[in-house]
Symmetry: C2
Subunit: 198 residues, 2 copies
């Protein structure tokens, strides 16, 4: 189905253009018109691929989540198998934080997306579903590590999952250079150290 593939590729190219606009100019300036200009297509062509700004954003976020998941899967595959749960959690967490150019762009997109979702029921449901899915993956790793005796059985898996997810709160502190990347990695390692030493 070459036409399908081409459609998907064009949508991905537009998503990349959207990320660049958000990254360079900020969320408020990422209009359909500006994204069309950045993607080097006409506004009419853009509207052929996305019927609205919300539809474009929704696709771009799904695509960003897929890219992050692929990056995490690639790093996990490079570890001795099966991956150590502590390393797996560290890789997943650091992939969500703005620590390198790819994740800087997607984490900025993500923050904009959450704000937009607070005023759009469809985006809200999509964002909520994506985060809940991520939460379930982390909880699965923690439950398995408790079963395998790598985390003490007196830890509550739901609480530990929530505390791991909360560490994504380093995002604005990194974006505004209040805390250095090294300090963030050190704090994450301390948190995981205590969780797995328990």
């Amino acid at each position: 189905m070459p036409k399908q593939v081409n459609h998907r590729e064009r949508r991905e190219a537009i998503a990349h253009a959207l990320w660049r606009v958000v990254d360079e100019q900020g969320w408020a300036r990422a209009t359909m018109r500006e994204v069309a200009r950045e993607a080097d297509v006409s506004l009419g062509q853009l509207q052929h691929y996305f019927s609205s700004r919300a539809a474009m954003l929704s696709f771009a976020m799904d695509f960003a989540a897929e890219q992050t998941a692929a990056r995490v899967a690639g790093e996990l595959a490079a570890l001795p198998q099966p991956p150590d749960p502590r390393n797996a959690l560290r890789i997943a967490l650091t992939a969500m934080l703005p620590l390198h150019p790819d994740s800087r762009a997607t984490s900025r997109m993500n923050a904009a997306y959450v704000l937009e979702a607070l005023h759009d029921q469809d985006l809200h449901e999509q964002a909520r579903a994506g985060m809940s899915e991520g939460r379930a993956l982390v909880e699965g790793v923690i439950r398995q590590a408790i079963t395998d005796g790598q985390i003490s059985g007196d830890r509550d898996p739901a609480v530990e999952t929530d505390l791991i997810l909360a560490l994504t709160g380093f995002t604005p502190l990194l974006q505004l250079e209040v805390i250095s990347p090294d300090a963030v990695l050190h704090a994450i390692d301390q948190h995981l150290e205590r969780l797995f030493a328990s």
Copy 2:
């Protein structure tokens, strides 16, 4: 100086109008024109108080930070004196999270402000200074608690401060209803329990 007072009051009324627009319609729609409409002043009058959207936002953020600080100070004053550092940290943390209507509006403003600051040098400096000041306050409480033996001396105060600040990462998880307010408070209490039990 009645004229001064009136000037300040008008600016605060405009800041409240801005919060309402951001809260109800989202960041992208909070233009000078829309805020003027919400504050029931003309665009010309609004421009008399704020020369630009960035100046308006900057004032509104400072004002939000002052309101949060006043709320924290009020709650701290209601405790037996001197306040227990664990309670003080709990009060400061929960004031920053979207757990009640006032902090819901300011935390949404805050997220929008961080995004805007990534593309505006003055806002970036203001946001960075505000966060660094907050970080220094938290570190002061933790260092004192270590000195007083309430936190074990083998804890690194910088790391513990960063881990406390990271807990503001519950914000998007609360905003999108991925984690309940009760679960967030429980996780925060667990974190503080371990810090002070150490």
